[in-house]
Amino acid sequence: MADAAVLPATPAARRAPGRFWIVPPAALLALLFFYPLALIVQQAFLDDSGMANVAEFVRVLHARFFLNALINTITISVAATAGCLIVGLVLGLILAFVPFPGSGVIARLIDTFIALPTFLVTLAFTFIYGSAGMLNAGLMEVFSLQAPPVDFLYSTWGVVLAEVTVYSPFVLRPLLAAFSLVDRGQIEAASVLGARPFRIVRQVILPAAVPALIAGGSLCLLLTVNEFGIVLFIGAKGVITLPLLIYSKAIQESAYQVACIIAVINIALSLGLFGLYRFAAGRLGV
């Protein structure tokens, strides 16, 4: 790695000897990630005898189970992202502009959610909102009900709520960074001039937050499309998403070609959203 850090920003200066240092990490990534990725694509278009076969691909595309999973995935992703944006914005505004003693600690606590496993929230939700959970038990006791009244957890909305919890920190984080750059004097001046809080939020704060919202939002889209743990843990029959479908086809049914076909589509969708995120983040300098 000796020559690995020859001077940055040097026009054509002494680059030649160092340029091969990129090969080891690039080769490692190519072998362990891009090669398997290419094989997935290859498998998607080959049948068991190794012949090129597009028919299976087309068949999966038209299959009920696939279309359902695709619609589920997109619905959940869009709804969860919208939720993340709202929750992130509300929490961010309060943390940044109506701070309270300990708000810094709270902000960091929310931040550590990024590092926690996603299925934790689902597990907790089953204790709270599950059919035998706290909420239902309480409601049944108070209103003397026979059956649990709340059962959204095992639907799309249960997944959405869990994903909002897990992914709103990804909106909150860039948002707080953007808010820290907003000129406090400007807000105070506007207040002195009699502007009401909503007006200040709309005219001064939100414009500054737009880049962070777009970047955080597109990241949420990407992560929610790829989310696996939450959906697996809720385990509702009706809520199958693309990643879950890949898992069940490959591991439970050993239908590798079908799994690869779905994976190709899921990966294409993810890469598209990744491109959107990179474009938004790069364009807006986040």
Partner: protein, 382 residues
């Protein structure tokens, strides 16, 4: 924050003797630098003599920093050669050039103590331990930072950090010391002190060749033996400091180096006599000033510095112009007057004012000595 002066000169002389005589000359031979199609430095030929301080000054984007970085080896010339002493360093990597460099933001290594920062270059070059210890001690003493060797950079003020940065550069006994805007990050007051102390450092280390890049003309005027004024990637003028100031070869130099009043005049008589005085006409007034090779009838500029204009005439102040008083700004030590002379604004810096100034709008004579005046050709470009 107060900045302690460099230590007493008796200590200095001992250290200086050890460092003295390290300097080499630097030669730019048609050096040009381009980023793609964008030329940032047009072929530059320039020599810095051993032990000389050359200040490169100019506005940002003029190529001065690029020239310094080419010497350091961070920028590869598109053409031309750079020699330091007898060595052609054009193709050498920075770490084989034997330089010392000080940058605007000090760039002290934050994870190292002051002594380790100063020792860095020698350790990197594999010097033996005893030599390193001795050099670190000497270099820190030279910049008056002996008591700070165990501190971390963050525990020092800006001025102190810059002293350590200079000590770090001196410790490797550089053939050339490169100073890249070294004082720009400091407060005005500390900057003035540091300029004087760098001047003192150079008096004590007269063998040290210094390339000093700055946009501040005061630093350049105070420190430099020679100045190169850069503009749009070219040397606009180059010469001994006092010479450039007294006889600016072009308008850009006159205006960039100090303040200048430039009156458009017509040459009446070419330079003559032992002092090389020419005569030029401004309206009806005939004025004498140091000329070059102007011919009668040439239109040119008469350069006169604000502090050389006097409100009263005598035998020496024989040139006389008349202007209309426009503004008076009293600034304590100096009073700045602005007059209108034939449509050209003329600034006067007066240390002493007559008992009563004429009212604004009224006519007022100004006097100056021919020897303080020179004829400056109008720039061809802009």
């Amino acid at each position: 924050m107060s900045v302690p002066a460099f230590t007493g000169s008796n200590v200095m002389d001992v250290d200086a003797a050890k460092i003295r005589g390290a300097g080499s000359n630097v030669h730019f031979d048609k050096v040009s630098v381009a980023y793609g199609a964008h030329v940032v430095l047009h072929p530059l030929t320039l020599d810095i003599a051993p032990g000389e301080i050359l200040a490169m000054i100019g506005p940002s984007g003029s190529g001065k920093t690029t020239a310094l970085r080419a010497v350091a080896g961070f920028v590869r010339p598109a053409s031309g050669r750079i020699r330091i002493g007898a060595t052609d360093v054009t193709d050498l990597p920075p770490y084989e050039r034997g330089l010392g460099m000080v940058v605007q933001n000090y760039a002290l290594f934050p994870h190292m103590r002051v002594e380790d920062n100063v020792a860095f270059g020698l350790r990197a070059q594999g010097a033996d331990k005893a030599l390193i210890g001795e050099r670190v001690k000497d270099s820190l003493a030279t910049v008056g930072m002996s008591g700070f060797s165990k501190r971390y950079p963050r525990e020092l003020s800006g001025g102190q950090q810059q002293r350590v940065a200079i000590a770090r550069a001196l410790a490797v006994r550089p053939r050339v010391l490169l100073l890249d805007e070294p004082l720009s990050a400091l407060d005005a007051q500390i900057r003035r002190n540091m300029v004087e102390e760098i001047a003192k450092l150079h008096r004590d280390l007269p063998g040290l060749t210094i390339l000093y890049v700055t946009h501040d003309q005061t630093e350049a005027l105070t420190l430099a033996d020679k100045i190169a004024i850069m503009r749009d990637g070219r040397v606009s003028s180059h010469g001994p400091t006092t010479e450039l100031y007294r006889r600016p070869p072009n308008r850009f130099t006159a205006e960039f180096l100090g303040r200048a009043n430039l009156l458009p005049v017509t040459v009446a008589e070419g330079a003559a006599g032992p002092k090389g005085l020419a005569k030029a006409k401004l309206g009806d007034a005939v004025l004498a000033g140091a000329g070059r090779s102007e011919k009668p009838g040439d239109r040119t500029l008469l350069c006169i510095r604000p502090q050389h204009l006097s409100l009263t005439g005598d035998e020496e102040h024989t040139n006389r112009i008349v202007g209309t008083l426009k503004e008076v700004h009293w600034q304590g030590e100096l009073t700045h007057l602005v007059l209108d002379v034939d449509g050209t604004p003329v600034r006067v810096s007066a240390t002493r004012l007559p008992v009563s100034l004429p009212e604004r709008g009224s006519a007022m004579p100004l006097f100056f000595t021919p020897g303080d005046t020179s004829l400056v050709p109008e720039d061809v470009r802009g």
